[in-house]
C-alpha cells in the first residue's frame, strides 16, 4: 500500500462507489457507441473507437456481478492504461475527484456489498460513504476461458 495521500477519481457502478488513483486515469469519455462483441468474456461490454484506436470496454457492473444497468442509461467510460493498450471501464457516472488522506484508507474487506474483495486495494472511508479503491491489475486480469 503506497504511504502518501492520493487523489482519487470517484465513479459509480450500481450502489458501489469506486475510486481510482487519478494518475491511472488516462481520460474520461462520455459513453459513445459501443460495438458489442459476441462471444467475448461476460464482463466485456464491447469495443469503442478512441481516436482511431480500438479500446475494449469492461462493464464494471457485470464484472462485479451487480444488477445490470437499465437499457438506455447513459454511462461514462474511464479510460486507463493496461500495459501497451488502453482499456475502458464503463461506469454509471463519474462524480468527483477527491484528495484522500492516507489515514482514512483501510485494507479491503473480504467482500464489499457482495463483490469479491480482491478487486479492491483498499477502502476509503468518508463521512457518508465508503469508496472502494480499485485494484487495476486484478480488475483487468485477462480471463479468456
Amino acid at each position: 500500500m503506497p504511504p502518501q495521500g492520493r487523489e482519487l477519481a470517484l465513479f459509480q457502478a450500481g450502489e458501489l462507489i469506486c475510486g481510482l488513483e487519478i494518475n491511472c486515469v488516462q481520460e474520461i469519455q462520455r459513453q459513445t457507441a459501443i460495438t458489442a462483441v459476441p462471444r467475448a468474456p461476460y464482463y466485456v461490454r464491447g469495443v469503442i473507437n478512441l481516436r482511431g484506436v480500438i479500446v475494449t470496454v469492461i462493464d464494471l457492473r457485470r464484472k462485479f456481478a451487480l444488477e445490470p444497468r437499465p437499457k438506455d442509461a447513459e454511462g461514462q467510460i474511464v479510460i486507463i492504461r493496461q500495459g501497451e493498450e488502453s482499456v475502458g471501464l464503463l461506469a454509471d457516472a463519474v462524480s468527483d475527484v477527491v484528495a484522500a488522506d492516507e489515514d482514512d484508507i483501510e485494507a479491503p474487506p473480504l467482500n464489499l456489498d457482495g463483490v469479491a474483495g480482491r478487486y479492491f486495494k483498499g477502502i476509503y472511508k468518508q463521512e457518508h460513504m465508503l469508496v472502494a479503491i480499485l485494484n487495476v491489475e486484478e480488475l483487468l486480469a485477462v480471463n479468456n476461458e
Binding site: 460495438t35 459476441p38 462471444r39 467475448a40 466485456v44 469495443v47 484506436v53
Partner: protein, 1036 residues
C-alpha cells in the same frame, strides 16, 4: 560534421553495413562456384571488395577476429580473381563458412559465448596453401584473358581503378575522420622518399584506404620496390586536419585535397564506389579484356544488380507511422464519402473524387515502400539446399522462379522460417539419395522447385519436389503411436485426410531425429505461423512421385479489401481473401438448395455439399433484426430459420425451446409467398484453408477497404475475430476470422464427413464413396451412394398418400412415387406410423422417385472394401463395415426395378437399340465396382470384358475387338488417364470411345480427363447415365 560521435554508433553502422555485404556474399559465392573456371570477374571483385571493406572497418574498430577472417577470405578471393585457384566446392565452402562466422561475430551483442574462429580460419588457410602449392590444379583457361598482371607482382590487380566502398568512407566520416586524396609525386617528394616509406609514415596517424599507381589500384600493404618512382594517388582517412597532415607528411599543399561528403544525409547509403576514388563501375568494366559474359553468369548478374539498384534504407518505424497515417487518411476518406452521400451535395463531388484519388495513391505508394521481393527469402535457399544436400549425400537441382514477386515486409519476414522448414523437409525427407532414385527409375539428381507467382490478388508460393512423397502408412503409424487416432479411424481415412495428419503437433515422419529436421519443430508450427500471416496451406503428395506444398498469401496485411455484412444492427467485415463466392438463394429455391442432416445445415453448390452455418449462430445473436428499407427502423425479422419452412411441427424441439411456436401451415404458406428481395438468403462461400463452408448472413452491405486494427488482450480468446476496423461513421466493426469460426463451430469435422471435393491442385484422386447412412430400425444400418441422390426431404406422416395401393406424396405440384427398401430386400420396414420420415429423392427414367426411410443418420466418406456376396440380394449391392456396424448398400435402381419391373423400360437400361452385343471393356480395380458395372452393362445387352488395371485393360484391347472402353481413373500400375493417353496414342484406337467412371465429380478432374482424351466423364454408380452414354457413343 559532428565532432563527437558515439563509438557505439560507429560500430553499429559498421555492423549493419557489413551484414549487408555478407548477405549478398552468399549468393555471389554460390554463383561463383557454379560458374567454376568460367570466372565472372565482376562478381569475384564484388566479393573481394566486400571482404576488403569488412577487413578495413574491423581493423579500425579493433574487431580482430572479424579482421583475421576477412583478411584470409580476401586473400583467397584474390587468388580466385587471379585465376590461381579454382572456386571448387571446398574452397567455396571455406569462404561460406568464414562468411557465416563473421556474420555471427557481427551479430553477437554484448557478452555472448566466445565464437571460435580457428576452424574457419584454418579452412581458409588450407585452401590458400593448396593454391600456392605447385601443381596442375589451379590455372583456369580464362586466366590468359584476365588483365595483365602489373609489375610482375602476383598481388597485382586486374581491376584498374580505386574501388573503395562508399559506406566504408561514410563510416569513417561518421567517426569524425577526414577523407583526403593525396598525390604522391616522386619528383617533388623530399629526399627521394619512396611510396612505401610515405605510406608507412601515414599509417601511423591514419588509415590508407587505397592506392592508385599509374593506371592500377594496388593492394595494401605496399612493399618498397613496388611502383618504384611512379606517381601515385592515395585515398587516406585521418583524424588530423589538413594543415597538420601536410606538415607531418611533408607533402605540398596542392598535393592534399579534401573529399567532401557526397551527400549530407549520411544515413542513406548507396553501395556505390566513391566517385573520386574510382569513378563508376562502367569505367571499371571497360578496360577488361574478357569476352562476353558466360551464360552461367545469369544468377550472379542478378544479385550483383540487386545490390546496386540505388535502394535506400528507410527506418521501419517511419514506415509504420506512414502506414498508420495512410490508414487514417483512408478512414477519413470513408467518413467523407459517407457524409457526402448522405448530404448529396453536388459541389462536393470534385473534392470527393480528388480526395479519393489522392488517398488511394498515397496508400499505394506507401504500401509499395514496404514491398520486398520474395527472392530475399528464396535466395537463402540456394545455400540451405546446397549445404544440406552435401551433408546428406544427395544431389539436388534447385530451381527458383518468381523471386521478383513482391510482398509486404512483414509477410516476407514471417515467411522465412516456415519456408526454410519446408525446404529442409523436402531435401531431408522428400528427395531420395541418388542410388534410391536410380532404383526407382528417376534421374539421380532430385528436382526441387520453389516458385512464387500472382494469382487473383494473392501470392502463391509452391514448393515442389520429385522425391519419395509422403508415406501415409508411416503417418498412420505415428498417429497411432501418439494415440491421437485409433486404427479404425485411420483405416477409414481417405488419403487426403491422412496427409493432414502431418499438421499434428509432434509428428515427424523422419526415421530418426537428425540434425537437419525432426527437432520438434513440426509442421504444426509451420502451419500455425503461416496461418498467422493469413497464409492458406495445402499439401498434395503422391508416393514415389513427390510432394507439392502450396501456400496462398495475401499481398499485404495492413489494409485489406473486405465485404461488410450486417447482422442484428451491427456490422462485420469479412476479408475478401477468404471469400470464394456469393450465393444468393431466392426465397422460392431455399428448399432445394439448403439441406439439413441431423443438426447440421448443408448447402448444395454445383453438386458439392458444403457445411453451412448461420452467422447469427456463430455470434450467438439469436434474435434476428433487419432494417426496414422504408423507415430505417430495426425490426425483428419474422422469418425464424431458413430451413424451417419445410420443418413440420415438433422439429423445433431440437432448438431448446428458443424457437417461436409453429405458426401452422396456412401462415407458413403466407410467408412463403413473400417475395421481397429481403427474404432471399445470402450465403458467403468462404475458404478456411483446407476446406470451404457457407456462412449465412442477413444483409450484405458493401465492399470496402478496411484498416485492420488489433483487438485488446481481453478479446484475444474469442478466436472468431481477426481484429476490428473503424467505419465511416466512426463506429467499430469487427473483422471475422474465417478459419477461427470454422474451428469454434467445429465445421471441419463436419466437412470431413462430406463428399470429398476434387481439389484444384492435382490432389491425389481417391476411390472414396460418399455414402448417406439411413435406417429403418435402430439395429440395421443402410447406405446409399450420395452421388446418385438429388435431394433429401424430411416429411411428416400426414404428407403420405396412398394411390393405387402405392405410397405417394405431393411434391412440387407432381406426385412423387415412394418406395420402401423393404419392398425389394429383406430389411426392416419403414415405420410409417412415425410422425417424421425422410425421403431420399433420385432420378429414374426421366422422373423422380423417392425412397422412404425412417431416419437419415449421417454422411460418411468411405473407401474400404465392399463385400458383395454375403448380403447380396435384390436391392442390396453388398455390405461393408461403416462406423463400426455392418451396413448394407442399397441399390436404388434395383429396388425400383424389383418392385416395378415394368418401369425399367422407361429408362435407358432396357436391352434394346442397335448396340446389342457390342463389346465393352470395363477397367476397374475394385472387384465390387467391376462386378457392378459388368452386371448392368450386360443387363443392357452388351458383352462386357473386364480388366483390373490399365495394363491388363490394354492387353485385352490387343486381344479382343472392343467397341467401347469404360475405365476407372484411380488404379494401380496404369491409371485411367494414362490408359486413355496410350489408347489415343495408337492409331488403331484413335476413334474408340473412352468413358471414364469415377466416384468423384468435379470440374478440374473432368478437365484433366478430357485432356487425356476421355470422351465422357461419369459417376460410377450412375448406371442410367453410363448406359445412356454408351448408347450414344456406339451409335455414332
Amino acid at each position: 560534421m559532428a565532432a563527437f560521435i558515439d563509438d557505439q554508433e560507429t560500430l553499429q553502422a559498421f555492423k549493419e553495413e557489413s551484414l549487408e555485404h555478407l548477405n549478398g556474399i552468399e549468393n555471389d559465392l554460390l554463383a561463383i562456384e557454379e560458374a567454376g573456371a568460367d570466372l565472372d570477374q565482376e562478381l569475384v571483385n564484388k566479393v573481394f571488395r566486400a571482404m576488403h571493406s569488412i577487413k578495413g572497418g574491423a581493423g579500425f574498430l579493433g574487431l580482430d577476429a572479424v579482421k583475421s577472417l576477412a583478411h584470409a577470405a580476401e586473400d583467397l578471393m584474390n587468388k580466385i580473381r587471379n585465376a590461381e585457384l579454382l572456386p571448387t566446392a571446398p574452397v567455396i565452402s571455406s569462404l561460406l563458412e568464414a562468411a557465416d562466422v563473421v556474420t555471427r561475430l557481427l551479430r553477437q551483442t554484448g557478452n555472448g559465448p566466445e565464437i571460435d574462429i580457428t576452424v574457419p580460419l584454418a579452412a581458409l588457410r588450407a585452401a590458400l596453401t593448396a593454391a600456392e602449392e605447385p601443381g596442375p590444379a589451379a590455372v583456369s583457361p580464362t586466366s590468359a584473358e584476365a588483365g595483365p598482371p602489373a609489375a610482375g607482382e602476383d598481388e597485382a590487380l586486374s581491376e584498374p581503378l580505386l574501388a573503395v566502398h562508399r559506406a566504408e568512407v561514410d563510416n569513417l566520416r561518421l567517426s569524425g575522420q577526414q577523407i583526403l586524396l593525396l598525390k604522391y609525386d616522386p619528383i617533388s617528394s623530399p629526399e627521394g622518399r619512396g611510396l612505401a616509406a610515405l605510406l608507412a609514415d601515414l599509417g601511423g596517424v591514419g588509415q590508407t584506404l587505397g592506392v592508385r599507381l599509374g593506371e592500377q589500384e594496388i593492394a595494401l600493404p605496399v612493399s618498397e620496390p613496388e611502383g618504384g618512382r611512379l606517381p601515385a594517388t592515395i585515398l587516406y582517412a585521418t583524424l588530423m586536419d589538413k594543415e597538420m597532415l601536410i606538415a607531418f607528411a611533408g607533402l605540398g599543399a596542392d598535393e592534399v585535397r579534401e573529399l567532401p561528403a557526397a551527400r549530407p544525409d549520411e544515413s542513406v547509403s548507396t553501395p556505390r564506389s566513391l566517385p573520386a576514388a574510382g569513378t563508376s563501375e562502367a569505367t571499371a568494366a571497360a578496360p577488361s579484356p574478357s569476352p562476353s559474359p558466360a551464360p552461367q553468369r545469369r544468377a550472379g548478374d542478378d544479385s550483383a544488380k540487386s545490390g546496386q539498384d540505388g535502394s535506400l534504407r528507410v527506418n521501419v518505424r517511419l514506415l509504420d507511422s506512414l502506414m498508420a497515417l495512410a490508414g487514417e487518411l483512408v478512414l477519413t476518406r470513408n467518413q467523407f464519402l459517407q457524409v457526402f452521400h448522405s448530404q448529396g451535395r453536388l459541389e462536393l463531388e470534385a473534392v470527393s473524387q480528388r480526395l479519393n484519388l489522392v488517398t488511394s495513391e498515397l496508400q499505394e505508394a506507401i504500401m509499395s515502400t514496404r514491398m520486398q521481393p520474395v527472392g530475399n527469402v528464396f535466395n537463402k535457399f540456394k545455400r540451405v539446399v546446397r549445404d544440406l544436400a552435401q551433408k546428406l549425400g544427395k544431389e539436388i537441382e534447385l530451381s527458383i522462379e518468381g523471386g521478383e514477386v513482391e510482398m509486404d515486409k512483414t509477410i516476407i519476414e514471417a515467411l522465412a522460417d516456415p519456408l526454410t522448414h519446408l525446404v529442409r523437409n523436402s531435401v531431408d525427407h522428400g528427395i531420395e539419395r541418388p542410388a534410391d532414385r536410380e532404383r526407382a527409375g528417376k534421374p539421380p539428381a532430385g528436382l526441387l522447385e520453389i516458385k512464387a507467382f500472382h494469382e487473383g490478388g494473392h501470392v502463391i508460393i509452391e514448393i515442389v519436389d520429385d522425391g519419395a512423397g509422403i508415406d501415409t502408412a508411416r503417418l498412420k503409424e505415428k498417429a497411432l503411436g501418439m494415440g491421437t487416432h485409433d486404427r479404425a479411424q485411420l483405416d477409414a481415412m481417405p488419403e487426403r485426410e491422412l496427409l493432414k495428419l502431418i499438421f499434428l503437433p509432434g509428428l515427424s515422419t523422419a526415421r530418426e531425429v537428425t540434425e537437419v529436421s525432426g527437432r520438434g519443430v513440426g509442421m504444426d508450427v509451420v502451419h500455425a505461423n503461416l496461418s498467422r500471416i493469413g497464409g492458406v496451406f495445402d499439401i498434395a503428395s503422391k508416393k514415389g512421385r513427390g510432394t507439392t506444398i502450396t501456400i496462398k498469401l495475401p499481398l499485404t496485411l495492413a489494409i485489406i479489401p473486405s465485404l461488410i455484412v450486417s447482422l442484428a444492427g451491427e456490422r462485420y467485415a469479412i476479408p475478401q481473401v477468404n471469400l470464394v463466392e456469393l450465393v444468393r438463394v431466392p426465397p422460392g429455391r431455399v428448399k432445394e438448395r439448403i439441406e439439413r442432416i441431423g443438426a447440421a445445415l448443408l448447402i448444395r453448390l454445383r453438386g458439392e455439399l458444403l457445411p453451412l452455418i448461420r452467422l447469427a449462430e456463430v455470434l450467438g445473436v439469436e434474435e434476428r433484426v433487419f432494417c426496414d428499407p422504408q423507415t430505417g427502423e430495426a425490426q425483428r425479422c419474422r422469418r425464424w430459420r431458413v430451413e424451417d419452412r419445410r420443418q413440420p411441427a415438433g422439429s423445433e424441439a431440437e432448438h431448446e425451446g428458443q424457437a417461436p411456436p409453429d405458426p401452422g401451415p396456412d401462415q407458413r404458406q403466407a410467408r412463403e409467398r413473400r417475395s421481397s428481395p429481403d427474404s432471399a438468403i445470402n450465403i458467403l462461400v468462404l475458404s478456411a484453408g483446407k476446406f470451404r463452408y457457407g456462412l449465412l448472413v442477413d444483409t450484405l452491405l458493401d465492399s470496402e477497404e478496411i484498416v485492420v486494427k488489433p483487438l485488446g488482450a481481453h478479446l484475444r480468446g474469442c478466436q472468431i475475430y481477426a481484429g476490428a476496423t473503424i467505419q465511416g461513421d466512426g463506429r467499430v466493426a469487427l473483422i471475422l476470422d474465417v478459419a477461427g469460426i470454422s474451428k469454434v463451430m467445429n465445421l471441419e469435422a463436419l466437412a470431413d464427413r462430406l463428399p470429398a471435393r476434387d481439389k484444384e491442385m492435382g490432389q491425389v484422386q481417391l476411390d472414396a464413396q460418399s455414402l448417406l447412412l439411413v435406417r429403418n430400425s435402430p439395429q440395421e444400418q443402410l447406405a446409399i451412394p450420395l452421388i446418385l441422390i438429388s435431394r433429401i426431404e424430411k416429411i411428416s406422416r400426414r404428407q403420405l398418400e396412398v394411390t393405387g395401393g402405392r405410397l405417394n406424396m405431393q411434391y412440387r405440384g407432381v406426385s412423387l412415387p415412394l418406395f420402401g427398401i423393404e419392398e425389394a430386400a429383406r430389411v426392416a420396414p419403414v415405420n410409417t406410423e412415425a410422425a417424421q420420415l425422410s425421403v431420399v429423392v433420385f432420378p429414374f427414367g426421366g422422373k423422380e422417385i423417392g425412397i422412404l426411410v425412417s431416419e437419415v443418420i449421417d454422411i460418411v466418406s468411405f473407401s474400404a472394401a465392399i463385400d458383395d456376396t454375403t448380403h447380396k440380394q435384390p436391392g442390396i449391392m453388398g455390405s461393408a463395415i461403416i462406423m463400426g456396424r455392418i451396413t448394407m448398400l442399397v441399390d436404388l435402381f434395383e429396388v425400383v426395378a424389383t418392385v416395378m419391373p415394368e418401369w425399367v423400360k422407361y429408362t435407358q437400361l432396357a436391352a434394346a437399340g442397335p448396340g446389342q452385343g457390342q463389346h465393352i471393356l470395363v477397367v476397374e480395380d475394385s472387384a465390387f465396382f467391376r462386378r457392378q458395372i459388368c452386371d448392368f452393362v450386360s443387363a443392357a445387352g452388351y458383352q462386357p470384358f473386364s480388366a483390373q488395371d490399365g495394363l491388363e485393360g490394354f492387353a485385352v484391347l490387343e486381344r479382343e475387338k472392343i467397341d467401347l472402353v469404360l475405365t476407372d481413373i484411380e488404379m494401380p500400375n496404369l491409371d485411367g488417364l494414362e490408359l486413355t493417353a496410350r489408347i489415343r496414342a495408337d492409331s488403331r484406337w484413335a476413334r474408340l470411345p473412352v468413358i471414364a467412371v469415377t466416384s468423384l465429380s468435379g470440374e478440374a478432374a473432368e478437365r484433366r480427363g478430357r485432356k487425356a482424351g476421355v470422351d465422357e466423364y461419369l459417376i460410377k454408380l450412375d448406371r442410367e447415365k453410363i448406359i445412356q452414354a454408351i448408347g450414344q457413343h456406339l451409335r455414332r
